[in-house]
């Protein structure tokens, strides 16, 4: 059974189509790469599927819940937003415990979930450190931990490796692989980095100017073009100019 099903999903701001008729589906345990130049509609897609924005037209279901039941969808998804802000005065532990409480966990369960996830993302020894003292990579890992606080069926990660050094990128990618492999969750990964997509994504959606240009496995996308970057440039020719 598909964990994500989008049919003709569109979002219009005035005369501008931020997303135009996106149709796709995803299965449990899949890592879907969302590729596209700036302004292609990647973040809009994620915000629509996570119920932050309402679509202008089209329908969708996430984690088996229809789009008109946003609170039910939010109960079953985890999200790392594109430019997530963090309350600098909170410690990593406080941040995760609060998130867990918002998902309906008791104080005891919230503490247990926070401790476990901090350990999972390598921040177990920073539980009492204020977030303002965290490096960018640590904040990203904390954000991923927060996205997993409710044991989600679908995880959306918007540019999770942005601004990280190579070691930090590898750590985050390994964590994403574990989310899909061990937890069986569907992961939607929005990124600019094609090597990341080649490393961990099972399927790819390439967006440009709000339209879906290509969808399929990496082999299918690459076929005939020689490489993923060549295929990407062919499909998004003229973007950003």
């Amino acid at each position: 059974m598909a964990t994500i099903e989008a049919i003709g999903l569109s979002k219009r701001y005035g005369a501008r189509d931020a997303l135009d008729g996106l149709t796709f589906s995803a299965e449990p345990g899949e890592v879907i790469g969302l590729l596209g130049p700036n302004g292609a509609g990647k973040t809009t897609t994620i915000r629509l599927l996570t119920t932050i924005l309402e679509p202008t037209s089209g329908t969708f279901a996430v984690a088996g819940q229809p789009g008109d039941q946003p609170h039910r969808i939010r109960q079953r998804i985890g999200v790392l937003p594109e430019s997530a802000g963090y309350p600098g005065r909170q410690t990593g532990g406080e941040y995760l415990r609060y998130a867990a409480r918002l998902f309906g966990q008791s104080r005891r369960d919230a503490r247990s979930s926070a401790d476990r996830l901090l350990g999972d993302v390598g921040l177990g020894d920073r539980e009492r450190t204020r977030i303002s003292a965290y490096s960018r990579g640590m904040k990203q890992r904390l954000g991923i931990a927060r996205a997993l606080i409710n044991d989600p069926t679908v995880v959306f990660l918007d540019e999770p490796t942005l601004g990280l050094d190579p070691a930090g990128q590898l750590e985050v990618l390994a964590t994403i692989g574990e989310i899909a492999g061990q937890r069986g969750a569907t992961v939607v990964l929005s990124t600019h980095t094609l090597t990341e997509v080649e490393q961990i994504c099972h399927r790819v959606l390439i967006l440009d100017h709000g339209r879906l240009r290509a969808a399929g496995s990496i082999d299918e996308i690459v076929a005939g073009a020689g490489s993923l970057s060549a295929a990407f440039l062919n499909l998004t020719e003229g973007a950003g100019t």
Binding site: L53, E54, R72, P81, A84, G85, R89, L102, G104
Partner: protein
Amino acid sequence: MTGTRWSVVAEQESRELWIGGRGPVLVFGFSLLLSAMTYLAATNRAMNFLEQREAVNLTAQVGLAVGVLLTVVVSADAISGERERGTLEGLLLTPVSRRAIVVGKLAAACTMWLACLVVTLPYLWVLGRGVAGAGQAALLTLVVGTLVAIGLGGIGLLFSAWTNSNKTSLAAGLLLLLVLFAPTQLPALPKTGVGEVITRVNPIGSALHYISQILVSRRAWTQDLSYLVAPAVVTLVVTGVVILAGPRLVRLTAGLR
């Protein structure tokens, strides 16, 4: 559990306000102001320039006005501030309803009013000793001030939901308070026909007038209840708007759907 998640939001917001936040600094500033005022009121009273009940009334009114001001300052930052800091999206991505978010934030902002009231109590006690007015003044300030703080704090929250910048929402909230507070400084206002109307429709003006009628003119609590109509109506309407329109107002970006 869903029904109680507003309390989770309120608890966390209150913690951020009072532990390492700006709450203690604002209340400390308020206590300095009250100390200076109490000193001046006490010395004036010693020289028979100010009757003891008037000194208590003055302190109660300042406590109410500043307490409401600080409540609006906190509530005006509640949503637009989170937008600016980039933390609102994380909150919106949880299953907590938008309604629970606004109610929780308003409840947390009102803790600022309660803190100001607690700070005011010893000053009322010092100035009201011997005339049995301190206890009455404290209860009166609690009842009337809570009514005004919820209403105007709610308006601050609505400004915050309608704007993307907390500077804009804060400026709008402070401007509103200035407009409402300025007429209360005209001493003869309630004694004229137009002045009476202006006082009655102004939630702050009518609340302060009601307090002074009881504390200074020694009228019964029930005698001038009509002066509480404006604060009560504002509080009911604003609370209704916050609860009913909250889900449409609390969005990632103000104005977009």
